[in-house]
């Protein structure tokens, strides 16, 4: 392979590259948050009116520890009863699997093309 000489990059172009990368990074974290699409929200499916430790499913030892931490049945209500919802659709699972596999396939394919150029220039063509 002929020796590859990269073009010079202007300072403005370098700054734009950094801005693009940082913007994408912030977007990946904050856009799901802003759109309320971030998971992990726990909800209380069946609230208990006038809660007691027994009604919240706590035995004497568990109740004593909550009280030592400064909780009452009222203040501990949401903490104790909130649960994740792990239900999912097969379609969503398939989308996740396809996205992960497609990502690594893309990585390996493009990387291999680039890697062959690197090795060719560093060590010469395969004999």
């Amino acid at each position: 392979m002929a020796h590859y000489t990269p073009p010079a990059q202007s300072k403005l172009s370098q700054i734009i590259d950094v801005i693009v990368l940082v913007t994408l990074t912030l977007g990946a974290l904050f856009v799901p948050l802003w759109l309320n699409l971030a998971g992990a929200a726990k909800t209380v499916a069946t609230p208990v009116e006038n809660p007691t430790w027994e009604a919240l499913g706590q035995n004497a030892v568990q109740a004593a520890q909550y009280e030592a931490l400064g909780y009452t049945p009222e203040t501990a209500h949401d903490l104790i009863l909130a649960r994740f919802d792990y239900s999912f659709t097969t379609g969503a699972l398939i989308v996740m699997i396809v996205v992960v596999i497609a990502y690594y396939a893309l990585m390996l394919k493009f990387s291999d093309v680039e890697y062959r150029e690197v090795i060719s220039e560093k060590f010469g063509e395969k004999k």
Binding site: P32, A40, K42, V61, Q65, Y66, F84, M96, S111, Y115
Partner: protein, 478 residues
Amino acid sequence: MAQTDITSAERDGMGPHGTKVGLLRVLGPAHVWALGVGIVLVGEYMGWNFAVGKGGAYAALMACWFAGILYSCVAMIDSEVTSTVAAAGGQYTQAKHIIGPLMAFNVGLYLVFAYTMLEAANAITAGYLVSVVATMTGYGGELDQRPFIILVIMFLAWLNYRGVLATLTFNLVITAIAFAAIIVLFISTSGIVGDGIMQHAALFEGHEKPYGWIGIVAAMHFGLWFYLGIEGTTQAAEEVRSPARALPFGTLAGIMTLLIAATLTWYICSGVLPWEFLGDGVNGSVAPLFDTARLSGSNALIWFLGIGTLFATLASANGCINDASRAWFALGRDKYLPAWFGAVHPQYRTPYRAIVFLVPIALIFALGAPLDQVITFSILSGLLGYTFMPLNILMFRKKWPMGTIKRGYEHPFHPIPAIVLLSLCGFTFFAVFLGYGTQLVAMIGFYIVVSLWFHFWRYRFVNRGAQFTMPWPKPQGY
């Protein structure tokens, strides 16, 4: 084929271009241990308990051990490859030499974001801790945590700017104290010395598997937090005096330390704190070891664990700044990012521009996002990196079979660790999908977009052959 001995006295201590100019080679194995354990030990002080929230206490224990197996594979694989790659950038530099530039670019970003997010999580915890101490000492109002978050990040960035030896010696001391605090808490509360306060059976009663078996799978997501970051020891490759010996020793000693600390932490906290409180790291137990000490009734333990928590967060944030900046620096030096970031400070011999540039990024995450989201972002970047590692070692052994390069460490039972690691990564992807699927897809979507940007735009500015800097023979099959 001629043998290339990276571990020889002739090669040892050389920079990646065969020169002695660049980052300072001043670190020993203890610093490598301090870097790895220092980054991770905070995972025992906060964050791991989200695993309890996702599946219950038993699920968190299983996640702790399965994640321990995953990280043992990571440490073994990483130790072999990195004992031949004596250059900053860690897994990024490995990927560049073994798989290819695009994979390397992605791995570099995994490292930067995993560590920067972890740094942000540490700063959030430090701010929280200060507010708790203020309340305990009689302050009546609600303390604004933001100045303390900013102070932590700025101070540690300054320390990193000034030199790596002082930075990691500082880490060694405070990490050792934080680890000792866990041991002391265990001895003091488990009944070994004095009356024990453990009540596992009563606290678990009726709540053994609150989500059933799927909760055990889901808990694996945050089980990674017990150990996340131990692979960061490789970032010191260009700054240790003897990479072929110090890196495997420091890394493997580190994972052994963490396996002990993680199991003790689960035992202590789950035996004192109710699982719903323990499992909610936002509204419940932000710092579970500290909360356990509070229930011990011993002021000495409260202060020691308070100090331990603070030291663990500082050590972790400190190590994260060190590692993220090395990865960013290495990306800049190879022009994967603007070359301006590849500069070394003329006096302090640190990657100072990378250190300074990442400060506002960490601050944005620390001040603008909730703790569990920041942790999830960090875990996802780490998980993507762990999935790369088995591919990396399989290709490494294929392209440079045993005998073509002298390894400082050869991991046993190949390819079993790689297969186990790949399987556990797939398992963990599903665990993240349960509850945090949107973030998972958003994160991978981000990496796909930046990969296309790199391949079709950025890569044109990169020298081709010159980026292969290791003194290795030509890979087989090329």
